[in-house]
């Protein structure tokens, strides 16, 4: 990968990587730092990395940086605690808000695989390669994540009867 290809990668993937990181961390400054670090790592190894693999490499680096950052921040998985205190009294008017809140409560692994799947359209194999999980783990995480999101939507009163209105 030469300099031009690297700059093209920045142009093409920086937004996607930033969205992926930002949606995971909910921290603009931290997300910016991680994206810059991911691209810095890409640049350090740009001579060894094929252009076709660049996107996967960036997301892999970003994913690992997210994990490291989460560990530093002592982030706890929220899968078990449904944050009932807050959700019980808060009524969302927009389904996107409900979904955002639900995604924020997902465990990091499930959140990451679902984002890679939905935002970037990666296949299970590619997600497994990026996250270092097995294919079965990816499938299980996606299934659990979807189920969790469905339950969260349901708990916030997003029923089929008024779903169209909510949307």
């Amino acid at each position: 990968m030469d300099t031009t290809e690297y700059n093209n990668c920045v142009n093409l993937y920086a937004d996607g990587v930033y969205r992926f990181v930002f949606k995971n961390l909910r921290d603009a400054d931290g997300s910016k730092d991680i994206v810059q670090e991911a691209f810095a790592r890409l640049w350090e190894r740009h001579k060894d990395i094929d252009n076709a693999k660049a996107k996967s490499y960036i997301f892999t680096a970003a994913y690992h940086l997210i994990i490291d950052h989460s560990r530093k921040m002592h982030e706890r998985p929220l899968m078990d605690g449904f944050d009932t205190v807050q959700t019980a009294f808060r009524q969302y008017t927009d389904i996107k808000e409900v979904l955002d809140a639900a995604v924020a409560k997902l465990p990091p692994d499930q959140r990451s695989v679902i984002m890679l799947r939905d935002y970037e359209g990666y296949s299970y194999d590619e997600i497994a390669e990026i996250t270092g999980l097995s294919l079965s783990q990816v499938k299980v995480y996606i299934f659990r994540g979807r189920t969790f999101l469905r339950r969260q939507l349901e708990s916030q009163g997003i029923y089929s009867a008024n779903m169209e209105e909510a949307v």
């Binding site: 990587v17 691209f39 299970y124 979807r146």
Partner: protein, 368 residues
């Protein structure tokens, strides 16, 4: 009866959904007895054997064995949830797609769950990465280009500033380049300093040849000066850049002769002014155009008033220019008497000539 010899036929029928409930149960029993064939059936299916078959009265031990073969296995999740996720992820087999559609059609609850699952797909959201350009890599000349441009601008500003000072210091010398009539005494009083009106006594009715040359020279000089004197900023003006052809405002009586244009000098009115008169520096500067239409030239009073206003205008403007000591595109010319005192100053500005003549204070004051 399914055996190790004919199991492939059963597997194919199983995949195509041609087996009835009893036959499917036989397949499951066979798999329980021969788990080594499970991989083969999964290859036929293209996906792991799901525990949908446990719903159709599969023996408990077989159901448990099948339940844990699925990647989507979740003991607490209903069967339809698995079908919904598989369909949502577009990884469902035809049989699963059919079962999903059938259940969704037959059950309102399944339909509601299916709609909820469809909402779990994260919507496309455009979030722009800030400082994207900072992550790019540019050649060194491109990275330094902004700094080079800034340095060039600063350099130009410094050069321009220094260049202006140098220009000021090489302004034309005090020697008047315009021919002036130095023979006229400086202390002749108002009558003497007044320029003769055209046709007044026949002297100036026709211009003398050398006067025409002088006029041309004066106009050329004005033009030349405008091109050589650069714009100035007041901040760079100090005593060191004082030029010999600039004058101070004398605190004594001066006389201002004003003309709309150099060629009309003879058609002007000269009026005295006391420079330290309080109202003099505060003269309102009005454009000439504003003065031309409001007065009747046939009315002597109006004409006098008009000339007075013109005079005040010129005087105020002259004083302003002189007080500022230096203005763009202005050139001063002057006469001195034998004592070296400035007796007359001509100022060329904005295509007009303003002449200020020093006079001795008249005994009875100035008549306006």
């Amino acid at each position: 009866m399914i055996t190790t010899d004919n199991y492939e036929e059963y597997f194919l029928d199983y995949c195509e959904g041609n087996l009835d409930e009893a036959k499917r149960r036989e397949v499951h029993c066979f798999l329980n007895a021969h788990p080594e064939y499970r991989a083969e059936l999964e290859d036929f299916l293209g996906s792991p054997v799901l525990d949908e078959d446990t719903d159709i009265a599969v023996p408990a031990n077989l159901a448990d064995s099948l339940r844990h073969t699925s990647d989507y296995d979740e003991p607490d999740v209903p069967y339809f949830d698995r079908l919904a996720v598989l369909n949502l992820e577009h990884v469902a087999t035809p049989a699963e797609q059919l079962a999903y559609s059938r259940m969704k059609y037959e059950s309102e609850e399944c339909d509601r769950v299916a709609k909820l699952y469809s909402k779990t797909i994260l919507p496309a959201e455009q979030i722009e990465c800030p400082d994207k350009r900072r992550m790019m890599v540019f050649p060194i000349w491109r990275r330094l280009a902004p700094y080079a441009a800034a340095a060039a601008v600063v350099g130009l500003m410094v050069w321009f500033s220094i260049g202006n000072k140098a220009t000021v210091s090489i302004l034309p010398p005090a020697t008047p380049s315009v021919a002036v009539d130095n023979s006229r005494p400086a202390s002749d009083g108002a009558q003497a300093s007044r320029l003769p009106r055209q046709g007044e006594d026949g002297v100036q009715a026709a211009r003398l040849p050398h006067q025409e040359e002088d006029e041309i020279s004066r106009q050329n000089n004005v033009a030349d000066t405008k091109t050589t004197v650069p714009n100035k900023s007041e901040d760079i003006i100090d005593e060191e850049v004082w030029c010999d052809d600039m004058v101070e405002v004398p605190v004594e009586i001066v006389e201002v002769v004003v003309a709309d244009e150099p060629s009309a000098l003879q058609d002007t009115t000269s009026l005295p002014i006391v420079a330290d008169e309080p109202s003099a520096p505060q003269v309102e500067i009005l454009p000439f155009d504003d003065l031309n239409d409001d007065y009747d030239d046939n009315n002597t009073k109006d004409k006098k008033h008009r000339h007075r206003k013109k005079f005040w205008f010129a005087c105020g403007k002259a004083l302003k220019y002189v007080a500022r000591r230096f203005v763009p595109n202005v050139y001063f010319d002057m006469d001195r008497n034998a004592d070296g005192k400035i007796t007359r100053v001509a100022m060329y500005a904005e295509n007009k000539v303003y002449t200020v003549e020093r006079k001795e204070k008249p005994q009875n004051g100035a008549e306006l």
